[in-house]
Amino acid sequence: MKLFFHLGRYFILIKRVFSKPEKLSVYLKQIVHEIDNIGIGSLPIISIISFFMGGVITIQAAFGFTSPIIPLYALGFTTRESMLLEFSPTIVCLILAGKIGSNIASEIGSMRITEQIDALEIMGINSAGYLILPKILAAIFILPFLIAISMFLGIFGGYVMGIATGACNSYEFIFGIQAFFEPWKLYYSFTKVITFAFLITSISSYFGYYTQGGALEVGKSSTSAVVYSSILILVFNFIITQLFFT
């Protein structure tokens, strides 16, 4: 029963979020602010993780490919496929669910318990729309760019590590990352990213918006936001994969 209660309340909130903004110019300003907060603020961590993960994937693949039948360019191919299909769109979004999700839930939760959301409502502002819509739109806009950077840096990390460890040479790796490329896989990846961006921001906002109590409850909302966003990312990852691959 509790599940239906939360689902119902979530969809009612989403309906409020997507109602007509009071003043477009103020919302646009907020979107730019959120793009900076969500996107640019996450760039350093995403870059570091992606670079090293790409490198590790290449080294592990090189260690596993012991058969002489497997060509060396398979290293580049494997790194590209891993980064494009799963690591960048899914694992990086799981990491972002932790970073952005907890940030959003605690920010909105703190505003709730200090009556700042009530203040917005009394001014005649749709608080759900003003606080949540810019975050959702900013994430949907900026996350694909972040993930593209993650993909690039992951493959680049694989290239650097591959050459540095002597696992392959430059020509073979570059040949590998170009081999058997199918563009629809990029559509698949970015469909996932846009879906996950919506899930992370809307679920985290939901938990923050309905926080009741004090600082302890803000912490609990923040934890719930990360847990439920992560679970739903995995569920939707499965659903989208099933839709694209069958």
């Binding site: 103020v26 203040a119 409502e121 009394i122 005649g124 749709n126």
Partner: protein
Amino acid sequence: MIEIKNISKTFGDRLVVDDVSFAFEQGKTNLIIGESGSGKTTIMKMMVGLHEINGGEILYDGKNFPILPVKDKQEVRKQIGMLFQGGALFDSQTLEENIRFPLDMFTSMSEEEKRDRVNFCLDKVQLTNRNNLYPGELSGGMKKRAALARAISNNPKYLFCDEPNSGLDPKTSIVIDNLIQSLTHEFNITTIVITHDMNSVVEIGENVLYIYKGKPWWKGNGKDILHTTNPELLDFVFASGFMKEVFQAVNKK
């Protein structure tokens, strides 16, 4: 003018507000007083639409607020300014940004007009040239004054103040009280103040409603209250023996 007619509110089985009616007059400081837990904040939250009512009517110049469509409700709310107990200033914004927020949202003022209005509001609450401070850098009294500046920035017709003196020293309390009263008279606002500060009641209470256990128990003004014979109200007013002694000494004189 705001009128409440027979409003009531229950939380679960508990009746918190029971059949309360009162007329809050324009251009006057209207006070709702009562002990903690008597239902006064609930009445105010119902009046501004933060709580749904279980029965009765809340009339803003004749319009029954609770049954208005969402859009019309928002139009009424644009005419409301509210001073929250904790200030409820937006932490991440400076005082200037806080005060100009309603102007950005609802007016087509130019940047210069907005800046003038912000400075005017800050002058009114004696926070001149504090435009760039953040709420975290302000004292309790300054926060209340800044919140009051935000509440009046968009020329409200109705001003709600939830315990404006809580947590303040007597001297700062008087400053806040005087500010609320002078703004009410100057701009002809319908002001509703929730308080249990007896000093405020006597000083600025032009139209007072005493709530006892969720029921309307006494109506009058701040001066009459000292001569009441209502036993519950007497208990509330003279809860401190010191206050009683002072009052008796003044009467003897």
